[in-house]
């Protein structure tokens, strides 16, 4: 709905290339990332404990994975809803979503840990007897939670994600060259089933990889909880990366205040959603007060974890809710990008709060927190390096998308 005519730049315009200053960072980041990732995990294992080290690795892994699958969902939902506004930022999301392929390789340590019992307590010999779990119940549990079946399922999840991501990434890249509208039509047509497959995989992966850290605890809301974090952080990352790209000199005219405004609206909405989902999960369990359900929250409301819980409530929900509520904030790119960066940090705290208590060493102390942080920064740097490498070889905008004009001219009311 616009009367504004917008000129689309030619596809080989330098504005669509990754700035050289960023492209040069690629290799150093990959090297530093690998060193920090391995070093951080090793440091955590040796200083705090083996299970804590693996938990730190899982925090780092889940942090990058939630960003990747959140971006995957973002791309899918844009095709599903035939959205026009988002074309200028979709390539950034595509670059993030394709990171599920390297992440699939990085799953190997977790798979090994599932066999060796160094991460998931359900794969530890004698767990049932030590914790006084009735054998009849444990036998049923074991039908689902055993290393072989766990690995098969994990491969299915990663396969589905990688397949969808690769297919959509390739389609979008092909369109850069050919400009075929049929490609968009094809991607749209498959987005419905893809979203269903995505939803099932994400939910079950959350159950298997994170919730099963506490094998006797279960919450049907948990899959949605992990998904909420991923879609929120994905929107934040898209917003932040667009801003950084613009600062580095690319996409100066393409991503406008209007796109930041829309991303800001989504960030605001998903902050509410995160609060809603996490509270719903807590409320039902707290109210019913059934011993086998409450222990997960009991752990997180005792010792130092209580402070972290309150911290999350205030700083992951309350503060950004009011912070991003105003239109004035959302229409200032640097401001909304700052909030996006802030929430990306809080998302890490959220994952730490979900995963680390099950390692059974409390908060992990200063060494634990620092080593986890090194581990996460390493994984993030590795992913960023790979993304930059990929982006340097293609463009940072879907230059021949049929809805690009609409996106460029997009205006909020």
């Amino acid at each position: 709905m616009s009367h504004k005519a917008v000129a689309i730049k030619p596809a080989d315009d330098p504005a669509f290339q990754l700035p050289a200053s960023l492209a040069g960072l690629s290799l150093p980041m990959i090297i530093v990332g690998i060193v920090a990732l391995v070093g951080g995990a090793f440091f955590a294992s040796s200083s705090v404990g083996g299970r804590f080290g693996m938990s730190s690795y899982l925090v780092a892994y889940m942090y990058c994975l939630t960003l990747a699958i959140g971006s995957l969902f973002f791309v899918l939902i844009q095709y599903l809803s035939r959205a026009g506004w988002s074309v200028v930022v979709r390539r950034i999301a595509e670059l993030m979503m394709i990171m599920v392929i390297p992440l699939a390789l990085l799953f190997i340590p977790i798979a090994v840990a599932a066999y060796s019992g160094s991460l998931y307590t359900w794969s530890v010999e004698g767990y049932q007897a030590d914790h006084g779990i009735p054998l009849a119940i444990w036998e049923q549990k074991e039908k689902w939670l055993n290393p072989n079946w766990f690995l098969v399922r994990s491969l299915v999840y990663l396969g589905v994600w990688c397949g969808i991501a690769a297919w959509y990434y390739r389609g979008s890249q092909q369109q850069d060259e050919t400009g075929e509208i049929t490609i968009t039509e094809k991607l749209q047509a498959r987005s419905g089933p893809a979203v269903i497959a995505f939803a099932l995989c994400t939910s079950f992966a959350a159950f298997d990889w994170v919730m099963s850290l506490a094998p006797m605890w279960f919450s049907t809301m948990f899959g949605v909880y992990i998904f909420t974090g991923s879609i929120l952080s994905a929107h934040c990352a898209i917003c932040l990366f667009s801003f950084l790209l613009q600062r580095a000199g690319a996409l100066r005219d393409e991503v406008t205040v209007e796109h930041y405004h829309d991303l800001g609206k989504y960030i605001f909405g998903f902050i509410c959603f995160w609060g809603y989902i996490s509270f719903s999960q807590y409320m039902l369990i707290w109210y019913a007060n059934i011993p086998e359900e409450t222990h997960w929250f009991f752990t997180r409301s005792s010792d130092g974890w209580f402070n972290v819980s309150v911290f999350l409530m205030i700083f992951h929900w309350g503060l950004p809710l009011f912070g991003t509520m105003s239109r004035h904030v959302r229409r200032r790119p640097w401001l909304i990008s700052s909030w996006a960066a802030y929430i990306l940090v809080l998302h890490l705290v959220d994952l730490y709060w979900i995963i680390i208590p099950e390692a059974g060493v409390g908060l992990g102390g200063a060494t634990g927190i620092i080593s986890t942080l090194i581990c996460v920064l390493g994984m993030v740097a590795l992913m960023l390096g790979l993304m930059l490498k990929l982006a340097a070889g293609s463009r940072v905008l879907a230059v021949r998308d049929p809805r690009l004009g609409e996106s460029l001219a997009f205006e909020n009311f």
């Binding site: 409320m283 707290w286 239109r327 009311f413």
Partner: protein
């Protein structure tokens, strides 16, 4: 189309001019005109387009709406109302235990708070929008122009309001024509009648009248009596198949609807089978002196289902315990000599509260054995009454009557006093013991019992009181003669009052 175009309207003398409107054929000329009008200083101008036009707000100089603030304020009002309402209702005015949660329980309040926040924010937005737009508005002078109908079709309009300080009809017309506006015409008042149609009024009156009927019917039912049974809208809620307390049932052989605990039931938090704590007896020592009795007592504690023999045994034990403390030979039970509770102000306060509730009726608030029940018994000369003990009798001091024995007395009773095990929890019974000891100490304390630092205070107080007593004594001695007259007057008055009654 041109042949059907109406001509611009003209103004009659008695009509009020609301402003001037001009037509534009495309968006760009309209936007340009809007900008020019804004730059010319008009603040009360409006544009009408068949579809939303981006940037027209800035072109017209319209400031962003304050609606979000209204929504925020309304939402926060909803939050506050919900929290205050629930805190008042469930936490203060009508405390009711739900699911064993605290009365003021924030997590349980959140769903209602959330709903009310959303509801009031929606209302705030909806009615705030009405208020800001001046709705409901049944007609607008713009509608008087026959050409204006095309605003929903293919023509753009720019309207300059006469309320604007800069407005001047001729000038406005000139400006609009200069900006490229076609068919510049004045907007006049609607000439059609403002009288509300009679049918509508009658209909409205009928609806208002009918709406009173249910309320009147309810009012009538409230003040009249009826021979016919009440009408039950939800009979299954009024007549629940579940049994009330004390009702009988045919489902169980004993006919009781309230089922006794299943044998072996243990209340939550009651799993601490500390036998010493529950009996007041040092069991290990008792086992060395009187093994069968110790075994019996331990069995009693373990086995909730007490059978007849055990009760008799317990009664025997109780009677044995109730032997006078002076008779040392009759009681060789190794009573606990120390209160197992850690003494603190809290425990003593709890003990005082429980003592005042359960014990003071007979033993009196100060423990001297002259509670209300005792006084009444003496007044009616009850023959079977055994006066309650005086707690300050030396035979009840801790050295001859150990804490454990006192605890056992409260638990199992003595003479006329029933056992209070079913009313007072073990912990509270120990608290009562602690309070009784405190009472005893309070009546026999010497200055040495007071901490060093506070002795001077007490001494000062004592001196003050004695001085006051002395002064009062002297005063009474001085005024003895005067007061004797006065008091005789008072007495006569009092007696006359009595006579009157």
């Amino acid at each position: 189309m041109t042949e059907s175009q109406p001509t611009p309207q003209t103004v009659k003398d008695d009509q009020k001019v609301h402003g001037v409107v001009a037509e534009f054929t495309d968006v760009d000329s309209l936007l340009a005109a809007c900008r020019r009008v804004r730059d010319a200083g008009y603040t009360k101008a409006d544009a009408f387009t068949p579809f939303p036009v981006h940037g027209i707000d800035t072109a017209l100089g319209i400031k962003p709406t304050v609606l979000p603030w209204i929504a925020l304020a309304a939402g926060l009002t909803g939050t506050t109302i919900a929290l205050v309402m629930q805190t008042w209702m469930n936490g203060i005015d009508y405390q009711y235990i739900i699911s064993g949660k605290p009365f003021i329980s924030l997590p349980a309040f959140i769903p209602v708070t959330f709903e009310l926040t959303i509801l009031l924010a929606s209302f705030g937005t909806f009615f705030g929008m009405w208020a800001l737009n001046g709705l409901p508005k049944f007609s607008n002078p713009m509608f008087t122009s026959p050409r204006f109908d095309r605003a929903t079709d293919d023509t753009f309009f720019l309207f300059l309001d006469a309320k604007d300080a800069r407005f001047d009809e001729a000038g406005a017309k000139a400006l609009l024509s200069e900006l490229g506006g076609e068919f510049v015409e004045p907007v006049v008042e609607d000439e059609t009648s403002k009288v509300i149609p009679k049918g509508l009024l009658i209909g409205l009156a009928t609806i208002i009248f009918l709406s009173f009927i249910p309320a009147l019917a309810v009012l009538r039912m409230r003040v009249t009596k009826s021979g016919s049974p009440r009408f039950h809208i939800f009979p299954d809620m009024d007549f629940s198949p579940s049994k009330d307390a004390q009702q009988t049932t045919t489902l169980f052989a004993d006919g009781r609807a309230m089922r006794p605990d299943v044998p072996g039931t243990v209340r939550r938090g009651d799993l601490d089978w500390d036998v010493n704590f529950k009996t007041g007896i040092d069991m290990e020592q008792l086992a060395t002196i009187d093994a069968p009795r110790a075994a019996q007592l331990v069995a009693l504690q373990d086995d909730v289902a007490v059978d007849e023999d055990d009760e008799v045994a317990e009664a025997d034990a109780a009677s044995e315990e109730s032997a006078p403390a002076a008779d040392e030979t009759g009681d060789n039970t190794p009573w606990l000599t120390q209160n197992p509770l850690e003494l603190s102000d809290e425990v003593l306060a709890r003990g005082q509260q429980q003592f005042n509730i359960y014990c003071s009726v007979c033993h009196g608030m100060n423990g001297r054995g002259n509670g209300l029940v005792n006084r009444r018994a003496q007044k009616i000369l009850a023959t079977t009454w055994t006066p309650p003990s005086n707690m300050h009798d030396p035979t009840l001091y801790a050295d001859v009557y150990p804490d454990g024995k006192l605890f056992s007395t409260i638990t199992n009773g003595i003479r006329k006093m029933p056992g209070y095990a079913s009313q007072i929890k073990a912990k509270d019974r120990w608290a009562v013991v602690a309070y009784v000891r405190a009472l005893q100490a309070s009546q026999n304390a010497s200055l040495e019992d007071v901490p060093e630092g506070k002795r001077s205070e007490i001494e000062k107080e004592q001196a003050d009181v004695q001085a006051q007593l002395k002064a009062a004594e002297e005063a009474t001695a001085d005024s003895a003669e005067e007061s004797s007259e006065a008091s005789s007057d008072e007495n006569s008055e009092a007696s006359s009052d009595e006579n009157n009654e």
